[in-house]
């Protein structure tokens, strides 16, 4: 039996407009191999946050509906930008260093998603299913199976859609596909393309998809408890010179 407070809250909910927020988590590999002596993609990675800021500056709907959490990781993950509006973010310079560990970043993602959801709900928002973008240029040094299984566990109500972009050619397509989940896609760098160029294009296309998802007409009004998904636009890559999609689009339910 619901309490009077519950009933009041329920009534309030049905009589007000909740904002629908898209939480986006971008985990950027900043291991040694991202540096100038190997893939040389760290400068491109450092353009991520300024690009988000510019995108949100130019598009009020994106700024209002999207929230970004940026995580840098090597052997240790670190939240460099807590879940924020794009226009509230400040640039962060990643420094390439250390190895690559997926387990800890998957664990951190799960805990961040949980705590952020509490905050979003407390503030009266509803949310899209979280979208996670893992940008990595190398094979993990650990076995992340357990942590990844926990993150994508269907029993975890907030299990995210996980997209993996393999920067450069040091990461196998099997690895990229292995850690993709939900409506996420696996994307890889084409042959004879620099990692930096591919990452730059990925960031640009990611922004296009974020705009598409948050400004898709009517997206914010999906009602009746349905949890909308981030919409990644695979068409952005069909003619790409730098990136190709590993996922089988026939198995990929696009909404």
């Amino acid at each position: 039996m619901s309490s009077k407070t519950d009933q009041t809250e329920e009534l309030k909910e049905t009589q007000s407009d909740a904002d629908l927020i898209l939480p986006i988590y971008i985990a950027v590999d900043r291991s040694w191999s991202m540096g100038p002596k190997d893939n040389n993609a760290i400068d491109a990675a450092n353009e991520l946050i300024p690009t988000i800021i510019d995108t949100c500056d130019a598009n009020p709907l994106v700024d209002y509906r999207a929230r970004f959490c940026i995580i840098g990781f090597n052997a240790e993950p670190e939240v460099v930008v807590t879940l924020s509006r794009g226009t509230n973010m400040t640039p962060h310079a990643f420094v390439a260093d250390g190895g690559t560990d997926f387990s800890k970043v998957f664990a951190l993602l799960k805990s961040q998603i949980l705590s952020d959801h509490v905050t979003l709900k407390r503030d009266g928002n509803r949310s899209y299913r979280p979208a996670v973008f893992l940008i990595t240029d190398g094979e993990p040094n650990d076995d992340p199976t357990e942590a990844f299984t926990a993150l994508k566990d269907p029993g975890f109500d907030l299990h995210p859609n996980v997209f993996v972009f393999g920067v450069g050619k040091n990461i196998s397509t099997e690895t990229i596909k292995q850690y993709t989940d939900g409506r996420g896609l696996a994307l890889a760098t084409k042959d004879n393309v620099s990692a930096a160029s591919a990452l730059k294009e990925f960031i640009s296309s990611l922004m296009t998809s974020i705009i598409q998802s948050t400004t898709q007409a009517g997206s914010a009004a999906a009602e009746n408890g349905a949890v909308p998904d981030f919409t990644f636009d695979p068409e952005a890559f069909t003619d790409s010179d730098d990136i190709f999609i590993l996922s089988d689009l026939d198995d990929f339910e696009i909404q």
Binding site: Q15, D19, L61, A217, A220, A221
Partner: protein, 412 residues
């Protein structure tokens, strides 16, 4: 309008034109593509049986506890099994929501000064309207509105407004409507082009135009609207979009080329649209004013406004608990082949009926939210074009989609 994008098959992807945006020449438009494609189609056989998904009512609903659409067993038709009718009857009780007082306020300054702000406005005041188009030749007026007195018992209003998200992206308004009428009927068709279909502004205009005209033709030919050949209306509307797609593909290929082989799925990728029809007699006859809704494709919402009871959500297109929604007509045109769903409502004097796209339906919801409260107050009486456009141009945080509504007021 969001729609699950038709998944490209490998062959379709490979065969698709490289630049779909160039499929239309500068001078092309939905109304400039030639004769009515539907008129080129073979008519449905006269003996073609109309078999609706659900039974059609024959008696007026009891307003307090009766079924919204009174999907009772037609007395004169034995093709419906009583068990089905009973089940439908049990499932469809009218749910009325009497909204509280509106708390809408007028925007006092800035670009949108004078508009109404219904509830949380979110980022809407920061979004400037734009006449920019990212598609060559894709001009559609920002807003269109019609209103008129049909008789002493019927007035109508129809409005379609471009959404903020399309202003931001430089897309044209993808909603459309068309009106057809004769001495006996007024028919309004509304269509909501699928966002991801790049040229759905063309198909929405075409679908609504064909659906309105063909509905009027079907009504004129039928003794009873329940017996009208609605299936033919659906078929012709669907075929019109198919024809439009083939014509655009031919333009792309060049006039000297063989007719390109384009699948419905490929056409839907650029032209998918919903289509809904509202038909109302020109006047109350023998005390009865029965409005008909013909859902050809899509997720439009269908409401009744009663000054004393509030909003009745006859069909909320996206409400999974709705007993009306059916996947049978869930596919956008030109996909799918299900016959239209046909429903009706007997309007009492003072009531209004509203058929709208999800740009309105999603924010009206069940009627209790801010936009529902605002429009309940604003739309109770017939409005002229200026007032209909003004009241429909409210700002709300979730109202970024194109919005189109057809309203019929039973004035007596």
């Amino acid at each position: 309008m969001i729609w699950p994008r038709p998944r490209p098959t490998r062959s379709e992807t490979e065969d698709s034109p490289k630049d779909e945006s160039s499929l239309v020449s500068e001078s092309s438009s939905a109304h400039g593509l030639g004769d009515d494609p539907a008129s080129e189609l073979s008519p449905e056989p006269a003996e073609s049986a109309f078999v609706p998904d659900r039974p059609i009512a024959t008696s007026p609903p009891e307003q307090t506890t009766a079924p919204a659409l009174a999907p009772q067993l037609p007395q004169s038709d034995t093709q419906f099994a009583p068990a089905v009718a009973d089940e439908a009857l049990a499932l469809t009780e009218t749910q009325w929501t009497l909204p509280g007082a509106t708390d809408a306020v007028e925007v006092l300054d800035g670009y949108y000064a004078g508009r109404s702000q219904a509830g949380n406005v979110g980022p809407m005041l920061r979004i400037s309207p734009s006449i920019r188009s990212r598609q060559f030749g894709a001009y559609v007026p920002d807003s269109v509105v019609d209103a008129g007195v049909v008789s002493d018992s019927v007035s109508i209003g129809v409005v379609s407004i471009k959404g903020a998200s399309h202003h931001l992206k430089g897309d044209p308004r993808q909603d459309a409507y068309a009106i057809a009428s004769d001495d006996s009927w007024v028919v309004i068709a509304i269509a909501d082009g699928v966002s991801e279909a790049r040229m759905s502004h063309l198909s929405a205009a075409e679908a609504s135009r064909v659906a309105a005209n063909e509905s009027l033709r079907a009504l004129a030919a039928a003794h009873d609207p329940a017996d009208a050949d609605w299936q033919a209306v659906g078929t012709k509307s669907r075929s019109a979009i198919r024809t439009l797609g083939q014509r655009l593909a031919q333009q792309q290929a060049g006039s000297g080329s063989a007719q390109p082989d384009v699948s419905d799925r490929l056409i839907a990728g650029i032209l998918a649209t919903t289509c809904d029809v509202l038909a109302v007699p020109a006047r109350r006859i023998d005390g009865l004013l029965r409005a008909w809704r013909v859902r050809i494709a899509g997720d439009g919402s269908f409401y009744v406004i009663d000054p004393n009871r509030g909003w009745a959500t006859v069909d909320s297109g996206k409400n999974p608990s709705s007993t009306i929604i059916s996947n049978a007509v869930g596919d956008p045109l030109p996909l799918g082949d299900a016959p239209p769903e046909v429903e009706h409502w007997d309007l009492d004097p003072g009531q209004a009926i509203v058929l709208c796209t999800d740009g309105f339906g999603d924010v009206i919801d069940q009627g209790a939210r801010p936009v529902g409260r605002y429009l309940f107050a604003a739309w109770q009486q017939p409005l002229d074009t200026v007032q209909l456009l003004r009241t429909s141009s409210f700002l709300n945080t979730n109202a970024d989609d194109d919005r189109t509504a057809a309203i019929v007021w039973a004035t007596a």
